[in-house]
Subunit: 359 residues, 2 copies
């Protein structure tokens, strides 16, 4: 019950342990096609360029930036936590200028600030932000932020590492241009693979670049030949075959439950957890209006030893909860309720363990 990787279901682990076939094996192609369709379902998109990057979410992030940015571009980056800061790093390392909007950790990105930045920087090409900030437990208002960006002719890059499968997300309705996620959060798949999706508009931008993408490994112009439409697959790199078995199974499970049902489950168990935490005198660090159900950031009660409590939970209860990162280090815990780990049983267990340890 940390901030991820979340507990992986035995179904996913078993799927992953199937015999490895070749990455160009005809039998593997069908699985790739299904994985694409299931990802389109999870992202609520018809984007043709929807696929898993063969590396963790951080590489999915980098794929979005290096493909869309050319040296000299301007990118507005909204920062209210660790992963917004990482976005800025990606912008700078791609040779672009980052215009930064900062909001306090634990609060949402301010739409007025974003609009001011868009007005002040008509040269901006992209707005980048994190949908679900794993470091703070805040949901940014992706729908409104994308609408605003579009009004000023900007493309959008959205970090959905922790949001996909846990809260409402609608790539096509919200007209997101580039989005990346992780396998190890609300999909409850093993870590190491990053679902991404690019709009047709983004794909046009990538196809019409004046400079090559700085990363060969992440160049979508090349990857599309392997993950693109139809039966023909051109070799690019050796896909992580077994991790794709696992991702496929986790997406089948999401589809069986139904995306909206999965969102509702996360919301319901979040409410249950919050009620229990409040009974223990533990306060939430984030306002109810934009709190993430799948990542509950709570203030460490006065006089309580952060590391000792986490150590006892891990050693005595085999229960992991997350430490605070960056500005939140030592001040908060992060309790994940993600995917297969988001169950009544886990909420009850976590509350009972905390109650004993905090006594």
């Amino acid at each position: 019950m940390g901030p991820g990787p979340s507990d992986v279901s035995p179904r996913v682990l078993n799927a992953m342990a199937r015999s490895t076939v070749g990455h160009l094996d005809p039998g593997f192609i069908g699985l790739m096609d299904e994985t694409k369709e299931l990802l389109q379902y999870a992202f609520k998109t018809n984007n043709a360029l929807t696929m898993p990057v063969s590396a963790p979410g951080s590489a999915g992030m980098e794929a979005a930036f290096v493909n869309l940015i050319e040296p000299g571009d301007t990118v507005i980056v909204c920062i209210n936590g660790v992963f917004g800061m990482r976005m800025r790093e990606n912008v700078v390392r791609s040779g672009a200028t980052a215009v930064v909007i900062e909001d306090e950790w634990g609060t949402q990105t301010d739409l007025n600030k974003l609009e001011e930045a868009l007005k002040a920087h008509p040269e901006a090409k992209i707005v980048a932000f994190v949908h679900a900030e794993t470091s703070t437990g805040v949901r940014n208002d992706a729908e409104k932020m994308c609408a605003l960006a579009r009004q000023y002719d900007c493309l959008t890059i959205v970090d959905a590492v922790t949001s996909l499968g846990g809260i409402e997300l609608a790539v096509d309705d919200w007209q997101i241009d580039a989005i990346y996620s992780g396998s190890q959060k609300c999909l409850s798949c093993v870590p190491g693979i990053s679902p991404v999706s690019f709009s047709d508009k983004a794909l046009e931008v990538i196809k019409n670049r004046k400079t090559p993408v700085q990363s060969w490994f992440l160049d979508m112009n090349l990857i599309v030949g392997y993950w693109g439409q139809g039966g023909k697959r051109a070799y690019h790199h050796t896909a992580p075959v077994n991790s794709i078995y696992a991702l496929h199974e986790s997406l089948v499970m999401l589809h069986e439950e139904g995306l909206e049902n999965a969102w509702a489950r996360h919301a319901r168990l979040h409410d249950k957890l919050v009620t229990g935490l409040e009974e223990l005198g533990i306060e939430m660090a984030v306002d109810k209006a934009y709190r993430l159900p799948q990542l509950n950031v709570v203030r460490i009660p006065e006089g309580v030893d952060d590391a000792e409590v986490r150590g006892r939970l891990l050693n005595d209860y085999n229960l992991e909860i997350g430490a605070g990162l960056g500005a939140f280090a030592g001040k908060v815990w992060r309790i994940g309720l993600m995917g297969a780990a988001c169950t009544d049983k886990n909420v009850d267990f976590c509350l009972a363990a905390l109650k004993t340890v905090l006594k």
Copy 2:
């Protein structure tokens, strides 16, 4: 029995299906330390910076180039197959000038040409080459090439994707500065993870860069905080925990057999395969002096339909052999004898299947 991924042993698949723990879990740290030590054994190195990159071999390649290259550098790239070409792509995309030495597919890199290039380009900082060319079945003379590069004060980047665990390789003795490999060849682990090692000299170069590494995800200055020495692990990205279980198990198996014994097994079964192929009238495409035992590139006999034979082997015998790539497309087959798939049984089976299908 293609060019990889090779057959993965059930032991490795079972290890991979163990429950996912957190990437910062104290219980995972011990496994990381062991994985590092086992990789040092496999690479024959004491390099402190020895670890798996959390992505396929192509990303391992990119990690070597983007960390060592700064814009404006000159890199000598030796090309005699697909993967040398990919190296050149990496050099150019890292902002450096590539000085290319080309040799014919199926032959070794010519040491005289390399020395001429080193003399003509005193500004060269790095020599890059492929130890075992997976596209042609050629072993380049890594030991001599590294000695030559060092004589002219160049660092070396060596692609050992297909060589690690299959043929002699000695990172410290040969004074290789940066090396990367793949999990899915002679280690017979699942694809998707890339062992790398950097010499102390290379690490100094990386630490003293004037410009940031263009890839955040692959920046060794940051990754060293997670995979570095001691118990303290700073979060960089979420490691592919289950893939590391698998890599660890495959390295334990290599250690159990003994590195030199594994090399000898590949050599012995290669000889057996070649004898059998010659009895079937199938010629090797590469001279005996620099042939790879783990990747047997053979000429497709006159009048034989390439795709039909591979299709029948796959459908009737559940046996994959590889097609030719690039200049070798339609002209050769590539028969892998890698890691756990390098067995007497597989050699016999492959020869029997080919005999029937070619009748």
